[in-house]
Symmetry: C2
Subunit: 323 residues, 2 copies
């Protein structure tokens, strides 16, 4: 059985999986030893040849898979959590597993930081500082405040657990209205509108699917109280960024800590750069390059063992749902 | 026995202790009921008369106590944690208790937020944002990073416990080299220099005393690695702010989250307002006005019970040590 590793030549070396590294991991696992042949490529001109001859694919690079001939391909492991770009070109009958869970530890810390920044009025104080204004405000503790966690997958669950441990009241939002994370309540996506007026911090970890696209349009954003802060670390297209910006400029939100944008890198002339209350990080706050490849590799090795024994794979994407 | 309440007319109403509120608390405590008479004042012109006739003083206002005649005064409860301004004018033989502990909950959250902000490179990203620069950086988790906690009193202990729970390696610094907080190590103040090169986040909760004044001069700041961030929530005069600013401008520190300043409000022409890497809050981040008076009152009532039974008081300041 043949595994092909497709690396992204433009990605940093820490994100390249070498054939040697994978071979070592296979050799270390009795159930996997001697069962696989390996190839590795990062030259897009060679990709088609490799894809035509592999059974399993590890990919660090987005591919329009249905534009290739992949007669033997049965399963693809990708290095991202969001897979909407893969699914736009997905060949029928192929299994897709993602890197969900790999962003949990760092993502949870980032979300806790952002939630605390709203509690301490940092977005407002940054504006005061720019204008050399001394305007103290003596608000309360973060504990007890309400966080609405949109999406309780790998990142959302890790963040919900951490925020709950820190004393926040976390309301999870999932398609089913159920989740296994440590939350005060979990509600269905279609019940969001009722809870929005109670929210101190809105956190989105949502993937982009037909159901989530523009979920937070202007009408829904208008249901949030002016004290609310927004943290977006899932896909940007879940939000109407123009409406978000309008509300921030009008002082109708406490601020926004953003890691993702409708276009990345954010164009130099985008008004978001200088929107009051916006704290921006350039789509890096959930990725830890020192641990990322290893995290993905753990998922893959575990899944190879499951694959060999005919067990269900971890992190399998439901192609119909889109995540 | 007579208790006088001295309020600060310029303080917000939430920080005024009324005679009625204290009376209610005394009436609710069998050991205190019917033992005290009360007066209340916020007019500086009347202060001398009240001080001449009280045994115990609750004060929400800084007073140069040795400039008054206080023949009966035996104990003063103040509403601040730092007492250096009181001690500059302290009459011999009078007991002083402070509000240590009242800032712990909010202070710990603020310090955790600041530590996380350094881990996620926020001071640097704020500068990039101002210049519309997209420069991602993919660092690791906060857990495991080293925090040096200068001072492990009410605020420092609460913060150390929270940071340790969050996975930080916390090194406490105290005069004795011992503390009861949950830290990886506790060292004496005179051993600081050896650990400074390991520090990711330096947090100062130190009071101002002859021993702490300018403890962090230029030489000591130079021992910190360039990756280190500084959080100052104790007294500003522990640090050479000019040297701190020079190092930030030279890129020799990751940033500074500051709540206190050599002069407050910070003068409009102070260069600190626009120093790269500085995130400023205007001396309010540890004070929760909704809970502050109640917190001080709890200390006072508990101490009145101890006072009546001849037990040692809580939060008693060692006038020689200065905290």
């Amino acid at each position: 059985m043949h595994i092909h590793i497709e690396n992204d030549a433009s990605a940093p070396p820490a994100l390249h999986l070498s054939r040697e590294r994978l071979q070592q991991r296979l050799d270390a696992e009795p159930k996997l030893r001697s069962h696989f042949t390996l190839t590795e490529n990062s030259d897009p001109a060679q990709t088609a040849t490799f894809l035509a001859n592999c059974d399993l694919l590890w990919s660090g690079r987005k591919l329009a898979l249905d534009t290739f001939s992949t007669p033997r391909l049965s399963w693809v492991q990708v290095m991202s959590a969001g897979v909407e770009q893969w699914l736009a070109h997905w060949p029928q009958g192929v299994t897709l597993t993602n890197a969900s869970g790999v962003h949990g530890d760092k993502g949870a810390e980032f979300i806790l930081m952002a939630a605390l920044m709203f509690n301490f009025g940092i977005p407002g104080f940054l504006q005061d500082q720019a204008q050399r204004l001394w305007r103290p405000s003596f608000g309360g503790c973060a504990r007890g405040k309400t966080v609405l966690m949109l999406g309780v997958g790998g990142i959302g669950a890790a963040a919900a657990n951490l925020l709950t441990a820190q004393g926040y009241r976390v309301i999870g939002v999932t398609r089913s209205g159920q989740c296994e994370a440590d939350v005060a309540r979990c509600i269905r996506t279609d019940a969001i509108d009722e809870v929005l007026p109670q929210v101190d911090v809105l956190v989105s970890t949502l993937p982009l699917t037909p159901q989530t696209e523009m979920l937070f349009d202007r009408r829904r954003l208008d249901l949030l109280p002016a004290r609310a802060g927004i943290v977006i670390v899932g896909r940007a297209a879940v939000f109407d960024y123009t409406a978000l910006r309008d509300k921030l400029c009008a002082g109708e939100l406490a601020g926004a800590v953003l890691d993702v944008y409708p276009q990345e890198p954010l164009p130099v002339d985008d008004a978001l750069w200088h929107t009051p209350g916006v704290v921006m990080t350039p789509h890096c706050s959930l990725d830890d390059h020192s641990a990322y490849l290893e995290g993905c590799l753990e998922v893959f090795i575990d899944n190879l063992v499951r694959y060999r024994s005919g067990e269900p794979l971890r992190n399998q994407v439901d192609v119909a749902k889109g995540y």
